[in-house]
């Protein structure tokens, strides 16, 4: 039993030791201190998974906040959902720690980096293990803090610092919604415990404002999982070291919003309007991300927009009440997107920090392992069977098909964009001629084993990850859906789909045709995206991300900055203070007559005043007054 506590505790110890001893211990020791905790936590999680008996266990760690009748304890909840998340976080987390040993080996802040990564794992585990919304919120804001620290890891650069702040602040906007949701839950249920809330809803105690609660919680998810309108922080977050992008901004933290909606599915199921909203937000984000991704030339930016887009798919699934399908996609996405980011990191590492795909090309022969694993990741995300992404995305699409045909068709378009931009990146990076500098060419090399081993492991999962929830038509038994079933509303079985139907055929077309187009354009015709200055028209608008950052700057940042100056310099000084001083002036004028008895020494005034009060008290106040 007590071993469960070790799962979050170990990363915390890793953080503490590495954080305190930085920079006084060697990189080797720091690497060991940093990597062992998630590894052991992973082993413990696997053990938990294997021995899990299907019941929900609540572990009472300690009391936290006690406020009259309201009790908010530090409780951990072990159930099917949290165990799956544990596996993903500690599993992918461990691989990324190992990868970082190689990737960060030249960095001065090595120990600090591992300390932050461990802290992140700790908070992420708290997020998924918490047995109430408030403990979830600890993890929720805690991972936000780690994200802030890691995006701004190379803090000398001001633009990185700005990206870090932007991430934190946009998340905070969502967090306000989440917090309001928590307050509403407390008002209605007098508790934030999952079991209390969900069981009273299931027993028919449905408050009128349940939809509002669901909406507020979803606002939180929009911030954390980078959905419209709170998505612009995620592409900027790529300022962080690449392992951070892989772990935090692709595989784990950004899926916290999906985790939360699945966790609270009892609330969302009874709020169909909100679910509809979730679905459409997801769809819009998926399309927007995919379209912007089409024209980006920074390898990490493409992957970032792809993440935004894939998260949109997951929310679309949630909108169609396809909880287990969305979670399936959370898992496969964690594998292939972590793989793609780490692959990109390997490329960037070899290219001496070059991230522009226009200056790459032909890396295939120089970096065979990176090449091959990146290819597998690309196949997986494009939804090409039998790779993992095919099964998970297809399951979401199949649910959408029965839920809303318009949504489904738009999702197919997004899907087509996905496979196009992924192959575009892949071809421009690995095929063709090398387009970088001489110096870069001489330096090209395959990454060390600590980086390639995680790539290989993740590639295996990206290929075979579909097995977790293999549908019946492919000979599987939908393990994940059955595993999660006790926590989810009972959904109707989708029925058998045949490969020749529209339902099955369209996604396949969307998966296969765009890559061929990409091959024709970027490989056969050898077209290279034009220089920044030569982009025009709609392409430029897309390349500039629809000017959404500029729009936010214009309608929010600038007005607030203006107000700040206006309040501080005009209202404070010229209105309020002038009034205050005016009263002073009037009093001063009226008191000219009394001036003679005053010495003008302020200390003397105060002293006299205090003495007078004391005298008044002593002399008997009443008689003096009356």
């Amino acid at each position: 039993m007590s071993l469960i506590y070790l799962i979050p505790l170990l990363p915390f110890i890793g953080f503490f030791v590495n954080g305190l001893s930085f920079p006084n211990i060697s990189k080797q020791v720091a690497a060991i201190i940093g990597t062992i905790p998630p590894l052991v936590a992973f082993i413990l999680s696997v053990q938990l998974f294997v021995n899990y008996d299907g019941t929900t266990q609540i572990l009472h760690l300690a009391d936290w906040i006690k406020l009259g009748d309201l009790q908010i304890p530090f409780d951990l909840q072990i159930d099917a959902l949290s165990i799956m998340m544990l596996l993903v976080i500690t599993g992918v987390g461990t691989l990324i720690h190992i990868y970082s040993i190689g990737y960060m080996s030249h960095d001065q802040g090595f120990g600090k980096f591992f300390a932050f990564l461990n802290l992140f794992i700790f908070f992420m585990l708290i997020l998924v293990l918490g047995a109430n919304f408030t403990v979830l919120f600890i993890g929720w804001e805690g991972v936000g803090l780690c994200s802030y620290l890691l995006i701004g890891f190379w803090n000398q650069k001001n633009s990185y610092g700005n990206a870090a702040r932007k991430a934190f602040i946009m998340n905070r906007i969502g967090d306000l919604g989440f917090l309001v949701g928590i307050f509403l839950l407390i008002q209605n249920f007098g508790s934030t415990d999952y079991t209390t809330i969900f069981s009273s809803i299931q027993q028919g105690d449905v408050p009128d404002n349940l939809g509002l609660i669901a909406f507020c919680l979803f606002v939180g998810a929009m911030g954390k999982s980078a959905q419209i309108p709170l998505f612009t922080w995620l592409p900027d977050a790529m300022a962080g070291p690449t392992p951070v992008s892989a772990l935090i901004h692709a595989a784990t933290m950004v899926t916290a919003g999906i985790y939360m909606v699945i966790r609270a599915n009892v609330i969302f199921e009874l709020s169909p309007d909100v679910l509809q909203f979730v679905g459409w937000i997801g769809l819009s984000t998926a399309l927007l991300g995919a379209i912007i991704g089409l024209f980006q030339n920074d390898i990490k930016k493409v992957l970032a927009y792809s993440t935004v887009s894939q998260l949109g798919y997951m929310f679309m699934g949630l909108g169609a009440s396809a909880y287990s399908a969305s979670f399936f996609h959370v898992m496969t996405h964690a594998f292939f997107k972590a793989l793609l980011f780490l692959g990109a990191g390997s490329v960037i590492h070899a290219m001496s920090d070059e991230q522009d795909i226009r200056k790459m090309g032909g890396l295939k022969s120089k970096m065979p392992i990176t090449y091959l694993t990146f290819l597998l990741g690309t196949l997986a995300i494009s939804g090409i069977p039998p790779f993992s992404g095919f099964f998970s995305k297809d399951e979401i699409l199949a649910h959408l098909y029965h839920h809303d045909l318009l949504m489904w068709s738009l999702a197919i378009i997004g899907s087509a964009c996905t496979s196009f931009y992924m192959f575009r990146v892949f071809i421009l990076t690995f095929w063709g001629e090398f387009r970088g500098t001489e110096k870069q060419a001489s330096h090209l090399h395959e990454s060390p084993w600590s980086m390639t081993v995680p790539l290989i492991v993740l590639a295996i999962f990206s290929v075979a990850g579909g097995l977790i929830n293999l549908p019946h038509f492919a000979g599987g038994n939908e393990f994940l859906a059955h595993w999660l079933a006790p926590l989810l509303p009972s959904t109707e079985p989708l029925g058998e789909v045949s490969f020749l139907s529209l339902e099955m055929g369209a996604p396949l077309v969307a998966a296969f045709v765009p890559p061929m187009l990409a091959i024709i354009i970027f490989s056969s015709k050898k077209l290279i995206p034009s220089e920044d200055g030569q982009i025009h028209g709609i392409q430029k608008v897309i390349y500039q991300k629809f000017y959404i950052d500029e729009l936010y700057d214009l309608i929010i940042v600038k007005p607030v900055n203006f107000l700040s100056v206006f309040f501080g310099q005009v209202i404070d000084f010229l209105v309020i203070d002038l009034f205050v001083e005016g009263i002073g002036k009037i009093v001063q004028y009226a008191s000219t007559e009394f001036r003679r008895i005053q010495t003008g020494n302020v200390g003397y005034y105060v002293f006299m005043m205090v003495i007078s009060i004391a005298i008044i008290l002593f002399m008997g106040l009443k008689s003096w007054i009356l």
């Binding site: 930085f22 920079p23 936290w64 906040i65 006690k66 406020l67 009259g68 600890i138 804001e141 805690g142 803090l145 802030y148 701004g152 803090n155 000398q156 650069k157 001001n158 610092g161 700005n162 870090a164 702040r165 934190f168 602040i169 905070r172 967090d175 306000l176 917090l179 309001v180 307050f183 407390i186 008002q187 607030v560 900055n561 107000l563 700040s564 100056v565 309040f567 501080g568 209202i571 404070d572 000084f573 309020i576 205050v580 001083e581 002073g584 302020v602 200390g603 105060v606 002293f607 005043m609 205090v610 009060i613 004391a614 008290l617 002593f618 008997g620 106040l621 009443k622 008689s623 007054i625």
Partner: protein, 483 residues
């Protein structure tokens, strides 16, 4: 007797320092504050054990029913605890400066402590008023003698403004006092409760305004705040710490101790307005803080915003609101003196507080950055920091009172992050500037102040129950009066 010791001991040592001007003022002052903290800790421990208040009552002017009476219960306990806890750190923050062995400086700080302890302990309303005013004296001299630019004009304004506000309080107190039963009347706060509550709604409304103006200026609450940024900025750091860390809590304490139990009908009329003003202050102060160029001034506006939230929470008159306010007073005190000290440390080394001139400090002082970030996280109310517990409870109480006000007040968690992260980035991160290139690491004495404060931030966030439990009983008594 312990109460008397706590009240007068700092005064005696302070007077000794002022008169005798001994050489080793720092060590005397530091020892005195530590001893005071231990004595207070002992007292609080006793209160916590028995859950009963400790009182000291001595007739003072029996003909008019004025007593020299002190009472430490769960509410005043939090405040004297804060005052006793912070002083060693405030005194400690002078180490290795010319102020350390400046007997007058140290003496004034100790006298200030006595006065504030008195205000928090007073059981008699006139005694409260006496200490409320008396505390102005030492802080006035601290600020006007040792302050920075334009100190005389600014501190003079501060003084006049606060005295002006207190006059209303004084008149209001006399008004209620004269209506207490018996020929000699009584100024005992609990007697005043009963008398005031029986007054007409109209009188209570006027009385509420009279009392609230005094406390609103002290805290300060929008729009009574214009003395505050200047005073905080120009005061010497320890003066600013005393003002923001403890002294402003005399205002918030006054609302809990006097206004809420005395004028329920008055709050019924004006409470909403006062709450809206408090919340305007939260947003207004936060927005102004965003573009400040001077780090100290930025923190001054931040403090103004934070105290607005405390005030709004209390004014809900709910158990949660008052508990949250008490908790946040403690948290805010710890965080704000830590933050002001960080700015002082930067100013000592670079002679500047201009954000545009700073940057890159983390490259030379890792420990300072870590402490600064922890204290800042407390200030932006990240979970597992003390600030989260306070703001969570306060926002919850405001939210329960009114959904709209709660959401508007909640914007503070966004704006707070905006100005705080900007402050961190402009000082700690980025490239080193001309004046931060030779930034020296923290001295042992500086660490002795900053590290414990940072630890308090985390302890307060992880184990809030000890303190929430401590004040629970007394807060319950007040809210029961309201039923």
């Amino acid at each position: 007797m312990n109460l008397l010791f706590i009240l007068f001991f700092p005064l005696l040592i302070g007077a000794y320092l002022l008169i005798a001007k001994p050489k080793h003022a720092f060590i005397i002052s530091l020892s005195a504050t530590i001893l005071e903290a231990i004595a207070t800790g002992f007292l609080l421990y006793k209160i916590n054990e028995t859950m009963l208040p400790i009182t000291f009552i001595q007739d003072w002017i029996p003909e008019v029913g004025i007593q020299f009476s002190l009472k430490a219960d769960g509410i005043s306990g939090i405040l004297i605890g804060l005052c006793a806890l912070l002083l060693p750190f405030i005194v400690g923050s002078t180490s290795n400066t010319e102020k350390a062995n400046h007997a007058q400086y140290q003496g004034l700080m100790l006298m200030m402590q006595s006065a504030m302890m008195g205000a928090f302990l007073a059981k008699d309303a006139f005694l409260f008023y006496f200490f409320f005013e008396a505390s102005l004296l030492p802080i006035y001299f601290l600020a006007s003698k040792f302050g920075g630019e334009n100190k005389s004009a600014i501190t003079f304004k501060f003084l006049i403004y606060t005295i002006f506000g207190s006059l209303f309080l004084f008149i209001g107190l006399i008004f209620v006092y004269l209506r207490t039963p018996g020929t000699t009347h009584s100024a005992d706060i609990e007697t005043l409760y009963l008398t005031a509550r029986n007054l007409s709604a109209e009188s209570q409304g006027y009385l509420f305004m009279a009392f609230f103006v005094a406390f609103a200026i002290k805290m300060p609450i929008f729009p009574f705040h214009t003395w505050q940024p200047d005073t905080y900025t120009t005061s010497p750091s320890q003066g600013t710490m005393l003002l923001s860390g403890i002294m402003l809590k005399m205002g918030t304490y006054g609302v809990i101790r006097l206004i809420i139990p005395m004028f329920p009908l008055g709050i019924g009329i004006w409470g909403n307005t006062a709450m809206v003003l408090s919340i305007i202050g939260v947003i207004y102060g936060s927005i102004i803080a965003i573009q400040q160029k001077d780090a100290k001034r930025l923190l001054a506006y931040s403090s103004f915003a934070h105290v607005g939230l405390i005030s709004a929470g209390m004014l809900t008159q709910s158990f949660d609101g008052i508990q949250g306010a008490l908790y946040q007073m403690l948290s805010h005190g710890i965080n704000v003196i830590g933050l002001f000290f960080v700015i002082e440390i930067i100013e000592r080394r670079t002679k500047s507080r201009e954000l545009a001139q700073l940057g890159g400090i983390t490259q030379s002082s890792y420990a300072l950055t870590v402490c600064f970030i922890i204290l800042s996280l407390g200030s932006v109310a990240l979970p597992l920091t003390n600030g989260f517990i306070g703001e969570f409870i306060l926002l919850k109480s405001i939210f329960d009172y009114s959904l709209i006000l709660g959401v508007v007040a909640g914007i503070t968690i966004i704006l707070g992050a905006v100005y705080t992260l900007r402050l961190i980035q402009k000082t700690m991160f980025g490239n080193v500037s001309r004046i931060t290139t030779e930034f020296s690491t923290l001295t042992l004495e500086e660490k002795m102040v900053l590290i414990p404060l940072s630890i308090f931030v985390l302890l307060g966030g992880i184990f809030p129950n000890a303190i929430l439990h401590f004040s629970e009983e007394s807060v319950m008594q007040i809210t029961q009066l309201l039923k």
